[in-house]
């Protein structure tokens, strides 16, 4: 099984999603980015409106529509800060 990265998606009012994932895909103000395990430390501001897709092992994926978001990648994992995060309605893949 591929290496996994620890992902935390936290909104202001609560922790939305946390777990292990294979890849996180998000769009920063500079462009689309995919974060795999072992990614270099990164701080990014997410584009508005943005969608964050978290790819889990087994081909599944969860997606959230994120407003006012930031992405932080450290050695420990990926943290997505959001003012608001709601599950994306078209969360199919």
């Amino acid at each position: 099984m591929a290496k996994q990265v620890h992902v935390e998606l936290v909104a202001v009012e609560k922790k939305v999603w946390t777990g292990e994932a294979e890849m996180v895909v998000a769009r920063t103000t500079e462009g689309e980015i995919g974060v795999l395990p072992g990614h270099a430390p990164l701080l990014g501001q997410l584009a508005e409106p943005g969608q964050v897709r978290i790819k889990l092992s087994g081909g599944e994926q969860v997606a959230y529509d994120v407003a006012g978001g930031f992405l932080s990648v450290t050695a420990e994992g990926v943290t997505i800060l959001a003012e608001e995060a709601v599950p994306a309605t078209a969360a199919t893949h």
Binding site: A11, V12, K15, P41, L42, L43, Q45, F70, L81
Partner: protein, 307 residues
Amino acid sequence: MPAQVRALRGRIRSAKNMKKITKAMELVATSRIAKAQARLEASRPYAEAITGVLTALSANATIDHPLLTARQQVRRAGVVVVTSDRGLAGGYSSNAIREAESLMERLRRDGKEPVLYVVGRKGVAYYRFRNVAIEASWTGFSEQPAFDDARTIGETLIEAFTRSAEDADATAGPDRVLGLDELHIVYTEFKSLMTQTPVPAIIGPMEIDKQSDGVLPAYEFEPEPEALLDALLPKYINTRIYAALVESSASESAARRRAMKSATDNAEEAIEKYTREMNSARQAGITQEISEIVGGANALAAAGSEV
């Protein structure tokens, strides 16, 4: 039934009604404390994460942001007072107002002009009654604040604060509006169910500990660190305000619960006292009636035997 008994019965009835109301409010407040505490707990991960990000960022960016640098000369200081929308919460609002008053007194002594911002109807009513100028006020959410409320407050404050950066001298800057040089907030800290204390805190300019213990990883930034800082700092201030609002709401419910508990206890005491008084008044009435009857019967008997 003697008049005294009837009056006491009325008093007992009204004390019982009052007890019902205060008891209900006590129960509502109790459940709200738990809810507010859960919200406080739920907002913590975000607050921790954003603090971590800011620390990392400030180590990398050249810090020259109006929200971060202390002003050379502080002329006007914004003071936000968090009070409740409704009364019956013991000394909750008046304690917060008193703390704010002493903070403003301190600011005035330092030659700063306090500018008042009020959250909660009770605070608005207090200052309006005393004809104190309120710069802006927000009401209607003191018991259950949402992040949107904090954001509204934050936007107003940050705008006033960044405006002041261009006020070079004692006169207003190019925009002809006097901004703020410092931001303070007075909220009520939730220490325990029994203790809540109002505390002042500075939310602007912000202090970020630049502790460099442990090597921070070399971050990549998207966009540039300065632009990122620009976007992050207002959010950080909003989270600080949100945390203050939520904590205050927990304190408000706790204060209300305690006030309503003692009101319920008092009502119980009053009911007991009045019931005792009523019983003894009724008993006295009965005793009197009996002695009247006995007296009358004796008199009749005495009169009959003489015949």
